[in-house]
């Protein structure tokens, strides 16, 4: 009897898929993890047993249907098993970012009212314990990695393996336990909550997005079909475990398609593990691709002259023919031969180094990706596409189909998703995986849901002629200069961020006379440039303040202004003045979110004196800024930040109307 029998068709929960996969893909790999330098593999059947033992252990400890269980840590097999184990008991897994500070962690655990927490190691145990009095409902903490925990009081603390042992004892004592667990899994109609994912919102406290089982499964099925994922596919689970992207792309899609998920040895070894695993499906935010490109370029700077020339030559070939070859468009024979040669000499080895040799489908999302950057990877033969998603949607809202890929859009609506634009230009959607509301926050849920059941994304967008969606900014961030010109800060920021030596940009201009920006230089790229030019520097702060660095930035700003001048709707928002910030924007200081999104309002408040200086014409400004070190201590950095003027351009004559 198969899992599909009971529910009358395909599985509607992830544990049902687990049972199904353990039958149809019994001996095929489900999970890999590099431990002590060796890749360990679990088949689907073994994975089912691991999950089952842990689930029964949890039940023996008293976990019941509907109760919440927190999961805190990096990508490790046992933490993923904890998801399925909880779901198999109809309990609700609540993943939390492993780098969340104790306060944030406590907020989520308290808000979700968790009774159990499965955590990675001593570090997380310590965090949870330090917040014990704020978490009266937390009864048991279960850890994966025992190091350093030997002498802890184990009254309310258990090792993962010990919990599994409890589960096996329960089975040994009464074989019916096993049966009842399987029956319980099969009996579900998928209406239960399958996870609560907390958003790391750009403003205010994070909210728990409630996802239900059948909807989540349905969403994952439709995209897995869209990209034709099968049990032969491989992914490397390296994205933050608590992020919807990881939960969807790795966990959910793995369960519905039977693909094999690999967990890296440690967060530091991801690049190496990527090469070893050679995933066929890959996701990374634009900044990861950016980092890869930077590191490739830096390596080529150090290469011998022959290699360098070869690289340059074939990069040009790739630029000319690469994307056409990838999309199967017609390419002249000469181009095909040149590209094939380049593939042999450059692209192939490069893909191999990056761990991209076997990639069939790759996605990027989260923010705009530079057109050059996007084309670079596509021209190397990596099928990189864009998607637009939200936690509330259980990820996919739009995605690009093979062969219909563009750098400046995020594609048409994903399968089974409806999208519309509100009168104010805000993107709204309805999707198969959409949430049922925010946990314990009726009010907020109502704010986001329209009366006819659409979700307001808060993003401003436009459709192009082909029905592809183009996101321009957060709806609430789109503003106007005092002279009435449209000001879309993100649009300007992204244009600047496409320069490899610019890491972060914050633009100001709403309700002001002109546009001014804060810049963060990219320490790797600019540091490398400094090294090549024999410029010494001791810190980020010193490097950022160098006149030659300012000169470089001025060139970038000028270039962006020139571009903006070409676009009639944006030409009024050219950058007048800029400064290079004396510190990197940091999540520990609350300046960016854990997913590296700038908290605009907070930054504006924190650096108010600098903004004032940008607009009052002064040429420099002394500031003191409080910073948080990684260990939680606070310190003060002092700096005199220089402010520079930028060249602006006449608005170009509108040559033709922009496509609607």
């Amino acid at each position: 009897m198969s899992a599909s029998d009971s529910a009358g068709g395909m599985p509607v929960t992830f544990p049902q898929y687990l049972l199904l996969n353990a039958e149809r893909y019994a001996g095929r790999p489900a999970m890999r993890f590099k431990d002590l330098g060796i890749w360990q593999t679990w088949s689907w059947a073994e994975q089912r047993d691991e999950v089952r033992d842990f689930a029964l252990g949890l039940r023996a400890l008293g976990l019941r249907e509907g109760e919440r269980i927190a999961i805190v840590g990096t990508n490790r097999p046992r933490l993923y098993w904890a998801f399925a184990a909880a779901q198999s008991l109809k309990a609700v897994p609540v993943p939390v970012y492993s780098d969340a500070v104790a306060e944030e962690l406590a907020f989520v655990l308290a808000n979700a009212g968790v009774r159990f927490a499965v955590v990675e190691d001593q570090e997380q145990v310590d965090k949870v314990r330090s917040m014990a009095e704020r978490l009266p409902g937390l009864e048991q903490v279960i850890y994966d990695e025992p190091r350093g925990l030997r002498d802890y009081d184990h009254a309310a603390l258990r090792h993962f393996a010990d919990v599994q042992h409890l589960g096996r004892e329960a089975i040994a004592a009464d074989a019916a336990v096993l049966e009842s667990w399987t029956e319980g899994v099969r009996a579900s109609d998928g209406s239960e909550v399958s996870a609560i994912l907390y958003t790391s919102g750009t403003t205010g406290q994070s909210k728990g997005v409630v996802l239900t089982a059948a909807r989540s499964v349905r969403a994952a099925e439709s995209t897995a079909n869209f990209d034709r994922l099968t049990a032969d596919d491989e992914v490397l689970a390296y994205l933050p475990l608590a992020w919807v992207g990881d939960h969807y792309l790795n966990y959910a899609q793995a369960y519905v398609s039977g693909l094999c998920m690999s967990c890296p040895e440690s967060p530091e070894t991801v690049a190496e593990n990527l090469r070893e695993v050679g995933p066929s499906f890959y996701f990374a935010p634009p900044r990861v691709f950016e980092g890869l490109l930077t590191s490739v370029m830096i390596r080529m700077e150090d290469a011998g002259p022959i290699k360098k020339r070869l690289f340059k030559h074939y990069l040009a070939v790739a630029k000319k023919y690469g994307e056409a070859v990838l999309e199967g468009r017609s390419v002249p024979l000469r181009g095909r031969i040149a590209y094939a040669l380049g593939d042999l000499l450059i692209y192939g080895p490069l893909r191999n180094i990056l761990g991209f040799s076997r990639i069939r489908v790759a996605y990027t999302a989260g923010e705009a990706i530079g057109p050059d950057l996007f084309s670079f990877f596509r021209s190397l033969g990596v099928n990189l596409k864009q998607l637009y998603g939200q936690t509330e949607a259980f990820l996919y809202v739009t995605c690009q189909e093979d062969g219909a890929v563009r750098a400046d859009t995020v594609g048409p609506a994903a399968p089974d998703v409806e999208i519309r634009l509100s009168d104010s230009g805000e993107v709204q959607f309805r999707s198969p995986g959409m949430f049922t509301g925010y946990y314990n926050a009726e009010e907020k849920s109502r704010e986001v849901l329209t009366e006819d059941g659409f979700i307001k994304t808060g993003d401003a967008g436009v459709f192009d002629a082909d029905g592809h969606l183009k996101i321009i900014d957060r709806a609430k961030d789109v503003g106007k200069l005092r002279n009435g010109a449209l000001f879309a800060p993100k649009y300007i920021e992204n244009k600047l961020k496409f320069f490899p030596d610019v890491k972060e940009v914050v633009a100001f201009g709403d309700d002001r006379d002109s546009v001014c920006v804060f810049l963060n230089i990219d320490l790797t790229a600019v540091g490398n440039w400094a090294e090549r030019n024999n410029i010494s520097y001791a810190s980020y702060q010193e490097l950022a303040g160098l006149p030659r660095v300012y000169e470089m930035m001025r060139e970038h700003v000028t270039q962006v202004n020139r571009d903006l001048a070409q676009e009639p709707s944006m030409a009024g928002a050219q950058i007048r003045r800029f400064l290079v910030l004396h510190k990197e924007l940091d999540a520990d200081d609350g300046e960016v979110t854990r997913t590296q999104k700038v908290r605009r309002g907070f930054v504006a408040e924190r650096y108010a004196p600098l903004i004032e200086a940008l607009y009052d014409g002064s040429s420099e400004k002394y500031v003191e800024t409080e910073v948080t070190f990684e260990d939680g201590r606070k310190g003060l950095i002092k700096a005199t930040v220089k402010i520079a003027d930028a060249e602006t351009f006449e608005t170009a004559q509108p040559v033709r109307e922009a496509a609607e």
Partner: protein, 274 residues
């Protein structure tokens, strides 16, 4: 299937000593280079299972003391007993063979070799298969290599340095080199681990990491540790007993609290002239 967490033990040999018994006894040791006295008539002991700190201002003779213990220097007077056996002259490799491992103030690693090879070199004394087997790389020599590699991987995991397994250590930042060096010493499964300023040149975070590793080594493997350290704060936090040297003489010995309140020690650290 294999569980992700390994069962991990690096205990030294079973020498019949119980925690608290004297492991190393230094008796009236004096050392001079030409006419310059580096150490004068120093006596102290190190007990099994403890973390013993040797502190003192610059030039107090701390490193000389460590070099005497592991056989780099041979004292002119006095005896050193390790596990009850007294010795006068001992070569460093013999000290290593008897269960004493150490790290160095300025990091002495094999810079051209990878992290893995460096830590593997700590297993030198644990590998016995003769060389013809090794040449063939089959049979018992292969099993031995695998068993030792496993131990080394456990250490790599313990010290959280998986990402630099294959990196030549010469390319690593200083803090990581210190960690690799600790790894190599741990690979020897020593009874006594000598650490020469394990936190020198580190930032606060690295110091905290290193302190945690030292405590974990002591706690999990029961390794006896003698360490020299400059940073008084760290020393007082992690050690069980402290010996204070000044100008080659012992001026204090006891628990951190006792030492802190010792008049001579305070004077030495505040620079009161003798």
């Amino acid at each position: 299937m294999n569980s992700p967490a390994a069962h991990f033990s690096l205990h030294g040999r079973d020498d019949g000593l119980n925690p608290g018994d004297v492991l190393l006894d230094v008796r009236n040791v004096s050392l001079a280079f030409g006419g310059v006295k580096a150490i004068t008539d120093i006596s102290f002991d190190i007990r099994k299972g403890e973390i013993r700190a040797i502190i003192g201002p610059n030039g107090a003779g701390k490193t000389s003391m460590l070099n005497v213990i592991n056989g780099f220097y041979h004292p002119q007077q006095g005896t050193i007993s390790f596990r009850g056996e007294a010795r006068r002259r001992m070569q460093p490799h013999a000290a290593a063979a008897s269960g004493i491992a150490r790290t160095f103030q300025n990091v002495a690693l094999f810079k051209g070799m990878s992290t893995l090879d460096n830590i593997m070199s700590g297993r030198t004394l644990k590998m016995h298969r003769n060389f013809f087997w090794q040449l063939l790389h089959v049979g018992p020599a292969r099993d031995e290599e695998i068993a030792n590699r496993r131990k080394v991987e456990e250490i790599i995991d313990f010290l959280e340095i998986q990402h630099i397994r294959k990196t030549p250590v010469g390319k690593l930042p200083y803090g990581l080199q210190k960690r690799v060096e600790l790894g190599r010493a741990l690979a020897m499964e020593p009874d006594l681990l000598l650490l020469d300023e394990p936190m020198a040149g580190m930032n606060l975070e690295e110091k905290e990491d290193m302190s945690r590793f030292i405590l974990d080594v002591n706690d999990q493997f029961g390794t006896t540790i003698a360490l020299i350290e400059h940073d008084m704060g760290v020393v007082m936090d992690i050690s069980d007993r402290v010996v204070v040297l000044d100008y080659g003489r012992k001026i204090g010995d006891g628990t951190p609290d006792e030492v802190k309140n010792n008049r001579d020690v305070i004077d030495a650290y505040l620079g009161v002239p003798h």
